[in-house]
Symmetry: C2
Subunit: 93 residues, 2 copies
Amino acid sequence: MPQEFKRQYKEILEQYTLRQTEHNLYEGQNFSRQLIQKNISPEEVISIHKASLEEIIPNLSADVSHSFDLLIEVMIRYGLALKEHQTLIKKQE
Amino acid sequence: MPQEFKRQYKEILEQYTLRQTEHNLYEGQNFSRQLIQKNISPEEVISIHKASLEEIIPNLSADVSHSFDLLIEVMIRYGLALKEHQTLIKKQE
């Protein structure tokens, strides 16, 4: 994932952990549109979420950190299904 | 998400937070195949991950809990893209 996305996501997440506003959620929705356009996979999103959270909460427990690795593993198949989708769409163009 | 999936996921996650073995990751991969077959959306997976983690770690910090709500919001668009994919596939059958 490009560094710029990582920086942006961390900023949105940091704001959201401070105050859970509708505006922050809305920013998250808009951001995900950009991510999909740039073919960022869902497992990459989880990965960036994990890295951002570790920076925002320096004493994040190891259990929480590890838990993301399982979530990334589960998301990989979702990423493959999406890639298949993008290939299908290209074929139809 | 059916209660049975939730129970299964929590069990895999609990094992994985205790010892991070390749076998647990493999179970996660297999599990995600079932989830996709049952049309469980990626945002539902994040939701079940959050709920499971809150049960496994009762004193999970509020920041971590909140952070998942943003992740769910970001994943909704991925879920929509996948649904589009499933509709396309059905049309081609």
